[in-house]
């Protein structure tokens, strides 16, 4: 079981330090380096992963010793969380919990504790959720899918996501829930809460036989994790419905290929087969959408994306990036409402599904 394996891996780290001390050797930890110089593009999975470079946290180095001690303290704290099963802790919470660890171990700013968590993730090659450190729950899932999970009391719960008001919030327990049953044949992941709500109210889930996921902007790890599992375990194709601007595109791309920041765990989070549905740059022209002028930052971002190895060979994306640059304009998902509430489910999405040869539209 992974839980037991995680505990064992953590114990091994502790033991290596104790052995060093026993032998009167300076204790040290070897941790995969997370800096950009150690990012490698994994062509097979088309995402960034960490290379072979490592860094050493040595107990003999004045600049390392605090981080070494904090690493061990956080690791020990998380090991107990894993064994305890019940609790998850957010990064912010951990930062505040450290207040009780005394002046030498406590974190002065959250980036310090986040950094240690990422070191532990990298050492274990596991996302922090595995050691019970979770991001703030963000994102929701709605549609005809039945999930089984344990609630914080340890009781087994079974729910169908249709039997919720606004969808099931995706936290650490939902992300790892067992998929019991679903009739859906696709997943639509939506950038904004507004459009997600629109699709629920317009009955998109039934109409397209789809599971709807609210990303709420940049997707949280739990959300990315459940999208990956839906794709991998249930073989459901994933469609990414985002704003028509480079940032919307980037949100889509992080779900597809992972982020640089989580390179050490991208393999567990990225969903390479996921497809960018729109809103595309061409859609702006085709549907004469209301636009905003691109800012310098948007332009800069497009140029970066044009050179990003993850998107370099994707002709469709490259074409759309060029159109954006030419237009100098961007549009939000909500711009589609110019044609009424139903337009998006009756016209826009069906056309997109046909174009992308989605199940039910072939």
């Amino acid at each position: 079981m992974t839980k037991k394996a995680t505990v064992e891996e953590l114990k091994t780290i502790g033991k290596s330090v104790l052995t060093d001390i026993k032998n009167v050797d300076i204790p040290k930890l070897v941790i995969p380096m997370r800096s950009t110089s150690n990012l490698v593009f994994d062509k097979n999975n088309s995402c960034y992963v960490l290379g072979n470079k490592t860094l050493i946290r040595s107990g003999g180095n004045i600049r390392h010793i605090k981080k070494l001690a904090q690493f061990l303290k956080v690791a020990a704290f998380c090991k107990d969380l894993v064994k305890g099963e019940k609790r998850h802790v957010t990064k912010r919470e951990l930062y505040y919990i450290s207040e009780s660890w005394g002046p030498n171990l406590k974190f002065n700013e959250q980036p310090e504790s986040d950094d240690i968590i990422e070191d532990i993730e990298a050492s274990l090659s596991k996302p922090s959720e595995d050691i019970k450190i979770i991001p703030n729950p963000k994102g929701a899932i709605y549609g005809n899918i039945t999930l089984r999970f344990k609630n914080p009391k340890g009781e087994t719960m079974v729910i169908n996501c249709l039997n919720t008001a606004d969808g099931q919030q995706i936290g650490p327990r939902t992300a790892e829930a067992e998929f019991v049953k679903t009739d859906a044949d696709k997943v639509i992941a939506i950038e904004t809460g507004g459009m997600y709500n629109r699709l629920i109210e317009e009955n998109a889930h039934e109409k397209f036989n789809a599971i709807l996921i609210n990303l709420g902007g940049q997707a949280s790890r739990s959300t990315r994790r459940i999208i990956k599992r839906l794709n991998e375990e249930l073989k459901l194709p994933v469609y990414l419905f985002v704003d028509s601007d480079p940032f919307g595109m980037h949100i889509a791309m992080v779900i597809k290929s992972g982020s640089a920041k989580s390179a050490h765990i991208n393999k567990r989070l990225a969903t390479p087969p996921a497809q960018w549905l729109g809103v595309t740059a061409s859609d702006i022209i085709q549907y004469k959408l209301k636009t905003d002028k691109m800012r310098d930052l948007d332009i800069k971002r497009i140029k970066e994306l044009q050179n990003d190895p993850r998107y370099k060979n994707n002709k469709r994306l490259q074409k759309e990036l060029t159109i954006w640059l030419k237009l100098g304009k961007k549009a939000e998902q909500q711009a589609l409402l110019k044609y009424g509430f139903k337009f998006v489910v009756e016209k826009y999405l069906p056309e997109k599904f046909r174009e992308l040869k989605a199940p039910g539209f072939r």
Binding site: G14, V17, K22, V24, I62, I65, L68, K79
Partner: protein, 528 residues
């Protein structure tokens, strides 16, 4: 008004201003400007005389100073030494005649240059309390103790002996010595004045033992840190470049020389036949002119010639510095808690024809870190306690960039730090900025020498401060490791689910190993 009477009258008036009257009116000039300082001056005259007497006789001085408050503001001051004693018939003249034995014609490094003389102390006593000075003196075990009580007849400037006898009294264990006792009005302050003066005197005279009984019952013993007397300073003739008009006039008046050339040759240093002729040529005076026949103009011309002539510098072996080693020993004794002590005696130098020599001591690690450094000034081994902000020493110290030497300094102020700076000027003639003789004149040659001496010491201090900071850094670093290792052991044990207790001993060994490593790294850094 009668014209004749007028001139005569005033001339007479001027003559009749008595010494005591002058003294009364000019107390401040002579250092008696306030009661605290007055008490100090009395002690100072007594102690300076005792030290000079012992030194000249080759005796290691034992000096005992007692202050007793006999009634409001009235103190009985007694100073006893183990010096050679004073011959009976000399006693009244030494104590009862102002300016007796004055040293106008001899140039010699001596304490006496700086006071107004013990007779002024006697006068001050009789002016403020009406009591005579009491003197006990013994020259050898074979003779009896001479006892005197005397006043100064201030109109005649002559001693007025009140009582005189030869007695058997066991006051001098060495068999010789002098004891004086004066009743004066004054004020005793614990923090300044007499006590500080005696302490500093002990520092600059490490061969002397000084015992002090304060009026509040406190007894202080400054024991000697050196058991050898300094070499005796030699008397030298004045140098032509260092002479002043008044002194030249007096010398001309008193000389036995028949011609100006022989006067110059005999009574000045560094002047031979050639130089004497050269001076006369420059002064446009016949070298055969008799000193007795000099007019005022002749004297002025002669002085100019003396200043212009190119002659050798005066002999420099006439000085008697404290000595770098001796000063260090002395400071170590007085500041046992000092972190480091650096001392230096410079080679002798010359200002305006006067040989002088600068000595410096730096005591680091005493006093408050945040306050300005303490400066101790000495002239011919005598502490200068007043006018602390004036004179060549302060001028020189302010003009040094102290930051370079590891001390704080804002602008051209005195630096800040836990430091005492000792500066001693030994000279056959110390120039003071005023008659009260409390600060050394700011001649560029003197400032330059002081600056060089202080800077040399400060360089050594800087090396020490660097070392200290390095050690502090090392300690700080080790402290961090000492803080974190137990935490690492604890967390790692918790993580591994093992008992930490067996590992405490290896952890201590590990910390020692790291401590050693830190030291080596630090050495490497400072070597590279």
């Amino acid at each position: 008004m009668n014209e004749e009477k007028n001139a005569e009258y005033f001339a007479k008036q001027q003559k009749e201003i008595s010494v005591s009257e002058f003294f009364e009116k000019n107390k401040h000039l002579l250092g008696f400007d306030n009661p605290t300082k007055a008490l100090l001056m009395i002690v100072k005259e007594g102690v300076d005389n005792s030290l000079d007497a012992c030194e000249e006789a080759g005796i290691l001085p034992n000096i005992e100073v007692k202050l007793k408050n006999i009634k409001n503001n009235i103190f009985r001051v007694s100073v006893k030494d183990n010096g050679p004693g004073i011959v009976k018939n000399q006693i009244p003249k030494i104590f009862g005649k102002l300016l007796y034995g004055s040293k106008f014609h001899r140039l010699r490094q001596s304490r006496g240059q700086q006071g107004i003389g013990i007779s002024a102390a006697v006068l001050y006593a009789q002016l403020t309390t009406g009591n005579p000075i009491k003197i006990w003196s013994r020259t050898s075990k074979k003779s009896k103790v001479h006892y005197f009580e005397l006043f100064i007849d201030s109109t005649k400037n002559e001693p007025e002996v009140v009582k005189e006898e030869s007695i058997e009294i066991k006051k001098f264990p060495a068999g010789h010595g002098t004891l004086i006792e004066l009743d004066v009005s004054g004020r005793y302050r614990k923090s300044q004045g007499v006590k500080e003066y005696l302490k500093e005197t002990a520092i600059a005279n490490p061969f002397a033992k000084i015992v002090f009984h304060a009026p509040d019952g406190e007894k202080m013993v400054f024991s000697r840190s050196v058991d050898r007397l300094p070499k005796q300073p030699k008397e030298i003739n004045p140098h032509p470049h260092g002479i002043e008009l008044g002194i030249l006039i007096r010398m001309l008046k008193n000389t036995k020389a028949k011609t100006v050339a022989s006067f110059l040759k005999n009574e000045f240093s560094s002047v031979g036949t050639k130089s004497a002729n050269e001076i006369c040529k420059l002064a446009k005076i016949k070298k055969t002119l008799s000193p007795k026949n000099f007019t005022r103009t002749d004297v002025e011309n002669l002085l100019r010639g003396m200043q212009q002539v190119n002659v050798q510098r005066p002999p420099l072996d006439c000085l008697s510095p404290i000595g770098s080693k001796e000063l260090k020993k002395s400071l170590e004794k007085h500041y046992p808690d000092a972190e480091t002590i650096v001392t230096l005696t410079r080679e002798p130098s010359v200002y305006r024809g006067n040989p002088f020599q600068i000595e410096v001591g730096i005591v680091y690690g005493v006093g408050k870190k945040e306050s300005q450094i303490k400066i101790m000034r000495f002239a011919n081994r005598v502490p200068l306690l007043y006018q602390a902000g004036a004179g060549a020493v302060v001028e020189a110290v302010k003009n040094i960039g102290w930051k370079r030497y590891g001390l704080q300094q804002s602008g051209n102020n005195l630096p800040t730090g836990p430091m005492v700076l000792v500066v001693h000027m030994a000279s056959s003639w110390v120039p003071f900025i005023s008659e009260s003789k409390e600060a050394i004149s700011t001649y560029p040659d003197i400032i330059k020498e002081i600056k060089l001496a202080v800077q040399t010491c400060a360089r050594d201090l800087k090396i020490f401060i660097n070392k200290k900071q390095k050690a502090k850094r090392e300690e700080k670093r080790l402290h961090i490791f000492e803080n974190y290792f137990p935490l690492i052991l604890e967390s790692a044990s918790q993580l591994a689910e093992e008992e930490p207790n067996d590992l405490k001993a290896p952890m201590e060994l590990l910390l020692k190993k790291i401590g050693k490593k830190i030291g080596e790294e630090n050495d490497k850094k400072s070597n590279s």
